[in-house]
């Protein structure tokens, strides 16, 4: 009997960034150090002649624009492919789309996708670096990197810091990436939310994670407070009473004052004022929400430079 030729599965190309989980503390510090040397206002032609393909199966404002600006600041061209208006609408599979992008000359593919693991699948079958720009409920590694970068602009080091994350942890790829990064760099992480949005099993994600059901207890003494949005689009049958959630977990000035003086208030966005945080908190002097977005550009420059072999 003639053996069938099966599609060949590869390990991800060097420079791929599929998640924080696979990175070492050294890898993370290396990317952050590189990001500190890069500045979008001082373009460097490190990636001149390179083509970065941005493949977005989900809506995005911050991540998409900052990847585009980052790639262009390094001299690369960018092409954006959205799931609507492309052959994806006609039913083309993820891998066939990836092969197509490779065939038109992609040197790296940045992908956002509603299914966890979609970037891993692509990276197993194409020979160019794949960068995860957020996959389902799995990881959003560049968000965690820019959050680490932002914290380090205000605090000397992450090791030993008390970081509290409040909100919808279960549905959050930002939370999973953040937890891996904080754990690898030695921070003490407290996760806070109701059981529906924060199952006990979250404590197994990495080492040194504490779970709290009380916002007050979780915030007390924190160096960093990170708020996450309730992802109404992913609730899928979960019964969460929003008034109840607001009463127990909304970040208010009164709650924020329980944190250490000078504590940072972070949020990956998009923020819904009046739900997971009050407008006063969003605009408070401690808030670095806008700075986070700003820092996304140098961090993504570093990730792209690393992906295309210019990372040192």
């Amino acid at each position: 009997m003639q053996a069938t030729k099966l599609p060949e599965k590869k390990t991800a190309a060097r420079g791929s960034l599929l998640g924080i989980e696979q990175l070492s503390a050294g890898d993370i510090n290396g990317i952050l150090a590189l990001a500190r040397k890069l500045d979008p206002r001082k373009p460097l032609p490190l990636l001149r002649g390179k083509r970065v393909l941005l493949l977005f199966y989900e809506a995005s404002t911050r991540t998409r624009t900052s990847f585009e600006i980052a790639a262009q600041a390094l001299g690369s061209t960018t092409t954006l492919v959205l799931s609507s208006g492309s052959s994806i609408e006609k039913g083309e599979s993820l891998l066939d789309t990836a092969y197509t992008l490779r065939a038109v000359g992609a040197d790296a593919i940045v992908v956002r996708h509603p299914n966890g693991g979609a970037p891993n699948l692509m990276a197993s079958y194409v020979d160019v670096p794949v960068i995860n720009a957020g996959d389902g409920m799995h990881e959003h590694p560049t968000q965690a990197l820019l959050d680490g970068y932002t914290i380090l602009r205000h605090k000397k080091k992450l090791g030993g810091l008390n970081v509290t994350i409040v909100g919808d942890i279960y549905h959050s790829r930002v939370a999973r990436s953040a937890v891996h990064l904080l754990s690898k760099l030695g921070a003490h992480t407290t996760l806070c939310g109701p059981p529906e949005l924060l199952p006990e099993v979250a404590g197994t994600l990495a080492k040194d994670i504490r779970i709290s059901r009380s916002c007050e207890e979780a915030v007390r003494g924190a160096d960093v407070v990170m708020i996450l949005r309730v992802q109404r689009e992913r609730l899928s049958g979960l019964k969460i009473s929003l008034p109840d959630y607001i009463a127990r977990y909304q970040m208010t000035m009164a709650r924020l004052r329980l944190a250490k003086p000078g504590a940072l208030l972070m949020h990956p966005g998009p923020i819904i004022r009046g739900l997971e945080l009050t407008w006063e908190v969003a605009d408070s002097p401690q808030s670095v929400i806008v700075e986070e977005v700003h820092n996304g550009v140098p961090v993504r420059m570093a990730v792209l430079a690393r992906a295309l072999g210019k990372g040192t």
């Binding site: 966890g116 693991g117 996959d135 099993v201």
Partner: protein
């Protein structure tokens, strides 16, 4: 399968026949499609047309797989009855039960007859399990009596549960009247919407929605209790995967309910922690469970609670599996790796005796569906024999599978125990 008039002497092997309570070096003589004689080595007088030297090998009754998706009618791009039974023969199976979730669903005597026709090209015996409800929609029971007459050996809505308690109660009542097993895919689908793996630490880490163990065990609990209400009702739990469901079956058996269960090789060989890099060849339903579940299943396989090893061989085309994990079809192939996994995991690693493993592939499944004259080598039985080398080490090469599909998580896996020959109705249908 038409029996052959040829005769075969299988000489010098270790014959393991749990029904005959034999575990000794014996010669087995097959003629006219029947087992004619099992005697001490050298004692068979008749002259065989062919002699198979089985020294150092195990000679067992032909293996029976209670749970195989042959995909015909209608899904020949995944598997055909010809390719699926070829894979079965390579895995040592001489009889397979095929599942009714085909296109159309096997819910009529006509389709049951169609599956059994010689034109389908089966190389091993095929015993259809028909749909329990019309189009397996869970609402209206099929005509069990007519399906039984057409040759169905049981009914199931596999792929989906018989979820409604009323429907299940009616099915079990009829089961008791006509002595016909109801095979349940135990899953409370109200709790498993959009889920692609087991709910636990691994699903949280991967960001995938998970099915709880309770979604299985709640249904098994309910069904075991229902089965006890109808004297003689026969409930068979398909692909049981959780410790709690096994406890429910054990309780039912203690209460003398006619409850049986099967366990797949992948559930005793793998756990949810093995789902590497979102490889959908680790995605099946029920999903891979925890280490504690796996250990409980292995204990149940050893202590007699479990009746059969069944593969749930579920072939799918590459384009249905090499996709996003959450979008991938459920199921993996399993016919060719079942024996190797059973010996490697159950015997070598967990010290379950080979005789018990043979029972789980033969007498056990034969009892579940009342297959007369199979699952044993007693005089006059069908000449279905599996000859295997329990010490042979080999690696599974998916590219060489006889199945039409390639969706196995066991490619390259080192296994101990390999099929040497498969004999159906006195005819050698596979030589390893």
């Amino acid at each position: 399968m038409k029996p052959t008039t040829q005769s075969i002497l299988i000489a010098g092997g270790r014959v393991i026949d749990p029904v005959a309570k034999v575990d000794a070096p014996m010669d087995v003589f097959l003629r006219d499609g029947q087992v004619v004689e099992v005697a001490a080595p050298g004692k068979v007088r008749a002259k065989p047309a062919e002699t198979i030297d089985a020294r150092g090998l195990i000679v067992a009754p032909g293996f029976i797989d209670l749970h195989v998706h042959l995909r015909e009618p209608g899904q020949g791009y995944k598997e055909t009855i010809a390719t699926g039974t070829a894979a079965a023969a390579a895995g040592g199976f001489t009889s397979v039960c095929c599942m009714p979730n085909t296109t159309p669903v096997l819910d009529s005597p006509e389709w049951v007859t169609w599956v059994r026709q010689p034109q389908r090209g089966a190389v091993v015996n095929v015993f259809p399990i028909a749909a329990a409800t019309q189009a397996s929609k869970g609402a209206v029971l099929t005509d069990f009596r007519a399906l039984q007459r057409a040759g169905a050996v049981a009914v199931t809505d596999d792929g989906k549960p018989i979820l409604s308690e009323t429907t299940m109660r009616d099915a079990l009542r009829t089961s008791a009247e006509i002595n016909f097993p109801i095979v349940q895919h135990a899953e409370d689908t109200r709790l498993t919407q959009n889920c692609s793996m087991h709910e636990g630490a691994s699903s949280f880490r991967l960001g995938l929605r998970g099915m709880t163990a309770a979604a299985e065990s709640n249904i098994v609990d309910r069904d075991v209790q229902l089965a006890q209400q109808f004297n003689g009702a026969r409930l068979h739990v398909a692909h049981l995967s959780t410790a709690d469901a096994l406890t429910a079956v054990r309780r039912g058996k203690r209460n003398r309910a006619r409850v049986t269960c099967e366990i797949t090789p992948h559930h005793f060989a793998l756990t949810d922690a093995d789902i590497r890099d979102y490889d959908a060849n680790f995605k099946m339903n029920p999903p891979l469970r925890t280490l504690e579940d796996r250990e409980a299943l292995i204990a149940g396989l050893g202590d007699g609670t479990v009746d059969a090893i069944a593969t749930d061989h579920a072939p799918h085309a590459q384009h249905e599996k090499i996709v996003e994990f959450e979008r991938a079809a459920f199921g993996i192939t399993g016919l060719e790796t079942a024996l190797g996994l059973a010996i490697s995991v159950l015997h070598v690693e967990n010290k379950i005796p080979l005789a018990r493993i043979v029972e789980l592939f033969t007498a056990g499944p034969a009892r579940v569906i009342d297959l007369r004259g199979r699952g044993t080598l007693l005089h006059g039985s069908h000449a279905d024999v599996t000859i295997l080398d329990p010490k042979k080490r080999w690696a599974y090469d998916i590219a060489k599978t006889r199945s039409r599909s390639h969706n196995s998580p066991f490619g390259g896996r080192q296994l101990t125990g390999k099929v040497v020959a498969t004999i159906v109705g006195g005819r050698v249908v596979y030589r390893g």
